[in-house]
């Protein structure tokens, strides 16, 4: 047992060590701890998405599983094995070397042995061995196989939703076993019997219906963008016209809907509007927002292939309808796992799109040649390199900044240097967190992969512990007071996490810092406030 300090208080992490037999013995509703299990899916979302629905409570002994659930589950298992080489392979080749064990932030924070990535995968592997391998059929438990019972379903529900699909373990695995992929398949199987969580399905259903996770209708999106523009006016005195659903624009801009709805995402959205306005004034940049494709993120990637495809499809369809040349994507984590690795495979890009060439610098984004979607950090880094925008770094002098590599842009895309390049060009004080917690070894915020639900708060706070402790290190050492991240879930999760761990550090995005530093050509007075309304440091002196 280890006590972890937070300003005089302590959080206990009790590490439990059991035996291989306990690994195969399912935990049930009796062992479910509050703060660790999710609420079940809502009726309206299940009905909209065609998921079998029943009224059940995870804490009741009877989960009222639908008739023939075992067969449905195993058939889905078989289908997924046949359709996914990686899944079949990951079921077969694990040697249980334990390299992944203490790489999972949930394992570190909870000490629960079943939160080791290897144990999480064994939840499904044990069923795989029993029903799909001869050795498992014959030797049973001795070969690490187990029967599929109702209790096993309960355990799957409990632990498959304690993984944020961050893929940190996959970076350390000698065979590259991707726990995120295994968990994704497992959740897909659970979905076939309607035993899924509430949180992400609310957003999936909303996005399938309205085009964004928040369920904002077109007027709501327009109204939100108008409010962002009003806030920009308050700071800069510039009236920005925001193009929306505009046909014939050069570029379609998509970003997570949280960017125009939540704080601190809001300041990032102000940054987007300011940058695009400046480019429009100086270079005739033409872009548009969309209401039909008003969501960059994709909670479908937490659930199943089909749901992921359902949500990402709209972006290409909208790009084709509006006749844009290519797509620019905002700051988001899992969005970029989807946009970089999934979207173009799930939805063939329309032929009407053109080569992604920056209209300002003429740079051809060769790495986005076929998918035609460029990350905002790539776009802005290119502008800065070609000196196309004027920046005043000193406007960020009140921030001592560190950068949190979000899981998916890091391990699912390889976007490490572009945001750092931008940040170093827009602020004077930049410090890296310890080496074991950045770049490909970065820790999750603890709330990704569908875990941003309030009912799993303790899990989230514990899972975020390694990140919080790494931040505490630079906070104490360099006085870091601003954590910059390029993920919408990070921005939503970190303020709560840092409050819990008693870290007085603000959370924001890269584009907020760019917005602060950006010298706008039609700005008449000297800027006095940053985008949050804080006085700028030079004015204080």
């Amino acid at each position: 047992m280890v006590d972890i300090e937070k300003n005089g208080e302590f959080v206990k992490v009790e590490q439990k060590f059991t035996s291989w037999r306990d690994l195969l013995k399912p935990v049930t509703e009796k062992d479910f701890k509050p703060g660790f299990y999710h609420y079940p899916i809502l009726k309206r979302d299940a009905e909209q998405l065609g998921i079998p629905y029943r009224d059940w409570d995870p804490l009741e002994p009877d989960w009222k599983l639908p008739e023939g659930w075992k067969e449905t589950f195993l058939n889905k298992f078989k289908e997924l094995l046949e359709k996914n080489r990686q899944f079949k392979l990951f079921m077969d080749i694990c040697v249980r070397c334990g390299a992944c064990a203490d790489k999972c932030h949930y394992y570190i924070g909870t000490g629960d042995p079943k939160n080791m990535p290897v144990a999480r995968a064994e939840l499904l592997r044990s069923i795989y061995r029993r029903y799909f391998t001869k050795v498992g059929k014959i030797f049973g438990e001795w070969a690490g196989a187990r029967e599929l019972t109702e209790d096993v379903i309960k355990e799957l529900y409990y632990y498959l939703y304690q993984c944020s699909l961050c893929r940190r373990c996959s970076a350390f695995c000698p065979y590259g076993i991707d726990t995120a992929d295994i968990v994704w398949r497992g959740r897909e199987m659970l979905q076939s019997i309607g035993t899924v969580q509430r949180f992400s399905y609310i957003s999936i259903a909303a996005c399938a219906r309205t085009g964004n996770h928040l369920g904002l209708l077109p007027g709501g999106v327009a109204g939100a963008l108008q409010s962002v523009a009003e806030d920009v006016y308050d700071i800069t005195g510039i009236e920005i016209e925001v193009p929306i659903n505009k046909k014939g624009a050069d570029i379609l801009f998509v970003t997570p809907s949280a960017d125009y709805f939540a704080t601190p995402h809001w300041y990032v959205c102000m940054g987007y509007l300011m940058l695009f306005h400046e480019l429009e004034e100086r270079y005739g940049f033409s872009y548009t927002w969309s209401t039909y494709a008003s969501e960059g993120g994709n909670f479908g990637t937490f659930a199943s292939y089909e749901l992921a495809q359902k949500l990402s499809h709209k972006i290409y369809e909208e790009a084709e309808r509006l006749g844009v040349k290519w797509i620019l994507g905002g700051e988001c984590g899992h969005m970029w796992r989807d946009k970089h690795q999934f979207m173009a495979t799930m939805n063939p890009p329309p032929k009407t799109l053109e080569d992604p060439v920056s209209p300002i610098t003429g740079t051809y984004f060769e790495n986005a040649a076929e998918a035609k979607i460029v990350h905002i950090a790539e776009f802005v880094a290119d502008l800065i390199e070609h000196k196309k925008i004027n920046l005043d770094k000193s406007r960020n002098d009140h921030w001592k900044v560190t950068f949190h590599d979000s899981c998916n842009p890091a391990r699912g895309m390889g976007l490490y240097e572009e945001p750092r390049y931008v940040i170093k060009n827009v602020c004077n004080y930049f410090y890296e967190m310890p080496e074991h917690s950045i770049r490909e070894k970065t820790y999750c915020c603890g709330s990704g992969g569908g875990l941003l639900a309030d009912e799993v708060m303790e899990l989230r706070m514990r899972g975020g512990m390694p990140r919080a402790m790494a931040l505490k290190h630079v906070h104490k050492r360099y006085g870091v007071n601003y954590l910059c991240t390029i993920c919408a879930i990070d921005k939503a999760a970190f303020p709560t996490l840092f409050e819990f761990w008693k870290l007085p550090v603000e959370v924001g995005g890269m584009m907020e810092l760019v917005g602060n530093a950006l010298i706008m050509s039609d700005e008449e007075q000297e800027r006095e406030l940053d985008l949050r309304g804080n006085p700028l440091k030079k004015n204080e002196e």
């Binding site: 080791m116 590259g176 076993i177 209708l217 007027g219 929306i244 359902k310 984004f365 076929e370 880094a381």
Partner: protein, 316 residues
Amino acid sequence: MSLVYLKLFIADVLPYIAGIIFIVGTINRIINWAKSPVPLKIPTTCGQQKSLPFIRRTWEDRLDSPYTMCETIGRMIVEVFLFRSLFRNTRYWLDKQKGVDTRWLWLFALLFHYSMLIIVLRHLRFFANPVPGFLSIINALDGQPAYVPALYITGILALVALFWLWARRILCSRERNISYPADHLILALVAAILITGNLMRYFFKVDLYAVKEVALGIVSFHPVSAAVVNQIGWIFFLHLSLVCITIAYLPFSKVMHFAGVFFSPTRNMPNDNRAHVHINPWNPPYHGISWQEYYEMYKDQLDEIAENGYKVKPEV
């Protein structure tokens, strides 16, 4: 008398049974993996992607986040021969709340696998007549000539590394937690093979000419006679039958990772997703609302946006 039949069975029959099970089993596994489709390109990107010309990519980035075919092959080579991912290993110290580099697992895994490789190569000299030059060189390099017979370093190293790996599974509580009987079984089998092999070489010596005759007999399909097997001590047959049992067990065990690692899509695919779109052979059609349906649903609000000239202005 019956012992001779047992010896003949082990020398003349068992290797074929084991060999057939191994070959058929392994090919089966590989075909099973190879014929299943790869729906998505999912490399784990542990280094900087290729993007803009002024964003620097080091050679490590190229290997950890490959963009071209050559870089991807490079990544696989480094992964398979140098255990790149294990080299990255850290250990999280809860009391200090930080991760610290730990490369013991990498070191002993590397020692074990390379020692086993050299041991297998050394054994090939029994199956070839005359012995090819490179096998003699390996033999000479491995043998420590200060002792008679020359002490094979790998024979000892493999055993040491194996016991280190095994001790880790028994003594470290976390690893004990995740070790199935199957994990101990394979370690026990390999340990038994190594121990009988070492005992045979240094303590219970056997007639190597007769052993070579058995080995050549196996590969040339000429079963040896009772006269030959009677010249060889029992420990050889113990060693050989353990080897055969292990070889036959491999296709059903986790040892298949030796073949599986080549198929792992998080390692063997380039990180060029947006430049070259991957095709999923079973990609289903889109089921969801189209723009037209969306327009019908929210006609009023969308028309209002259109009336305002497809733009929103701040009210100031």
